[in-house]
Amino acid sequence: MTNTNTILYLDGVSVSFDGFRAINNLSLVLDRGEMRAIIGPNGAGKTTMMDIITGKTRPDTGTVYFDGTHDLTRYDEADIAMLGIGRKFQKPTVFESHTVEDNIALSLKGPRTVLSTLLNRRSADDARRIDEILATIRLEERRDELACNLSHGQKQWLEIGMLLAQDPKLLLVDEPVAGMTDAETEETVRLLKDVAKRHSVIVVEHDMHFVRELGVKVTCLHEGSVLSEGSLDHVSQDPRVIEVYLGR
């Protein structure tokens, strides 16, 4: 169906909520190994696009293909996660009453049946993988801490760590630096660049400074479709983009 170098392919996707078109004839292609930044004003449809990719929302029309042949509109959330798509929510969502370490352990790639969880013994491999991820997200020191005691920024990292544990092919990261200090934002840039070496990534963010630091191709969404696409400089000089942002 699609080019073997394409990890994600959306074409002519539309979805309406009670007559309101949240996504309108959206098309987007992501290459394998690519990191893409998505910008756009509030209500542009960025989160809804992720809902469609991850199976939470079914599109009214259009095609969504992942990793060659998988028609994502035919799967549900759990299936899509198992196909290899991980998602960080806009509002950081971790298992608050579990420790940092358990949050990662529950996300580790592996069988997802009830029986497997009843018989589970953590293997040495799992333990090593957990250590690696905790090091990557810089939370080794706090591994025994309950997740509810983490700062907002640390929760964002923990959630990214959970995605890494899942070992997906594609990561969808919704507003990772919202509510972060400048230093934390810098850390997150480093973290995502590191992640992008081995995964395809889509990052949604409002913070232009952060997007510039990422230094990747940018897609600007507006009213549910692509308004402009290219380098950040190209997009930010696009008169239609300027109008959308200034016109508000």
Binding site: T47, K56, F89, V94, A105, L106, S107, R112, T117
Partner: protein
């Protein structure tokens, strides 16, 4: 951590509870049967039956806590599983009556003779065998919970809607069991039992033995629950409770996790009901009353949901209060129960055990801060009980 028995599931407090239950299983019969009634240590037979009843309620509350406290499913119909287990046991006890009934019919229970039935309905077959009845005690509630949960969880019915349909389920069963033509004794239910496995139900020794068995079964239920909630499965239950959609997007299927918990819980409730019926001597449709299921929720909330000790303490304490109230000032009991629930919800949202845990954790944190440690250590949790109760159980919407 004092113990790593069963993968760390049994912390010091749970071991304490198990010790109390097993010693009660021995001591109560001794104090009832061997100590003369003149001694102040003597426990009268009526008290043995009362205590046995409390233990059955404790097991029922524990089963509710498994789904509500740990998995976030507020079932308002758990009384139905308890009653079904009770009916299965009642059917066995009915068939043991044999020719000793008022009509002296060798096969048919009195109420069927009274209704002019000529033969035993097919679903009464096998209940003359104890092993068959014991199997049904678990199978009937388990299958109902499985079928109900399969439909409800797959359709993603959650929250208050789920609570309402569990309530509707028990109400529907209440109406069904009221009907004479259902063949379960209608309004009067099943009663006038004579003996169980050949032992007279009136004999103090039988009553003492039933108490001991209830205590031991509750101990087993505590172990099963503790092992379940401390396993990886237990952590997933809590994850589903706190952030269901997060688990879904990680590839888990919350519906399966809930379904397993719901089914295990229903089986546990069924066993509690089966132990209850021979001790109170009757099972009738009022056990399906929606209000009964709501009472179970209150016991669990009072003791502390999401803990293992909580529902046991809550069930015993509230029912003890109920026994006292209904003897002293019966007309005020419902007000007292309602008031208690409101008070607990407002003042002790974590229940007795949860509040105690939070208080101890805070004190420990203060003390370690007082010692000048730069970083406040997370209070070391004793097993999962303490750990899970410290954080509030309010579900968190994702995104």
């Amino acid at each position: 951590m004092s113990s790593s028995l069963f993968g760390g599931g049994l912390d010091r407090r749970i071991l304490g509870l198990l010790a109390i239950l097993t010693s009660a299983a021995v001591l109560v019969p001794v104090l009832n049967l061997a100590v003369p009634p003149t001694s102040s240590f003597h426990i009268p037979t009526y008290a043995v039956a009362l205590l046995g009843k409390y233990l059955c309620y404790a097991m029922l509350a524990l089963s509710l806590d498994l789904v509500w406290g740990y998995c976030g499913i507020l079932s308002l119909g758990h009384g139905a599983f308890f009653a079904l287990g009770g009916y299965a046991m009642g059917m066995y006890l009915m068939r043991q009556i044999g020719t000793r009934g008022v009509y002296g019919h060798p096969v048919l229970p009195d109420f069927m003779v009274f209704l002019n039935w000529k033969e035993l309905p097919w679903y009464w077959y096998g209940f003359d065998q104890f092993w068959f009845a014991a199997l049904m005690v678990m199978l009937v509630p388990g299958l109902l919970a499985f079928a109900f949960g399969w439909l409800a969880f797959r359709s993603r019915v959650t929250g208050v809607y789920l609570s309402i349909i569990t309530q509707a389920m028990t109400y529907a069963l209440l109406l069904a069991f009221f009907r004479n033509d259902m063949g379960f004794g209608g309004n009067n239910g099943l009663t006038d039992f004579k003996d169980i496995l050949g032992f007279s139900l009136q004999a103090p020794t039988t009553r003492a033995a039933l108490f001991s068995i209830s205590a031991l079964m509750l101990a087993i239920a505590v172990i099963v629950t503790a092992v379940l909630v401390s396993s990886k499965y237990g952590k997933l239950m809590i994850a589903v409770r706190d952030a269901e959609s997060r688990t879904r997007f990680l590839g888990w299927r919350p519906e399966n996790i809930k379904l397993f918990a719901f089914t295990v819980s229903a089986v546990m409730a069924g066993i509690a009901g089966a132990l209850y019926v021979p001790q109170v001597g009757i099972i009738n449709p009022s056990e399906f009353a929606p209000a009964n299921s709501i009472e179970i929720v209150i016991w669990t909330a009072v003791g502390g949901r999401g803990t293992i000790l909580g529902p046991v303490i809550g069930a015993v304490a509230v029912n003890w209060g109920k026994s006292w109230f209904t003897a002293a000032i019966p007309e005020l009991w419902l007000f007292a129960l309602g008031g208690l629930f409101i008070a607990v919800t407002l003042l002790l949202p974590k229940g007795i055990v949860g509040t105690w845990d939070a208080w101890r954790a805070a004190r420990r944190a203060r003390r370690s801060a007082g010692k000048g440690t730069s970083q406040v250590e997370p209070p070391v949790a004793e097993g999962t009980t303490a750990r899970t109760t410290r954080h509030s159980i309010e579900p968190q919407p994702a995104e």
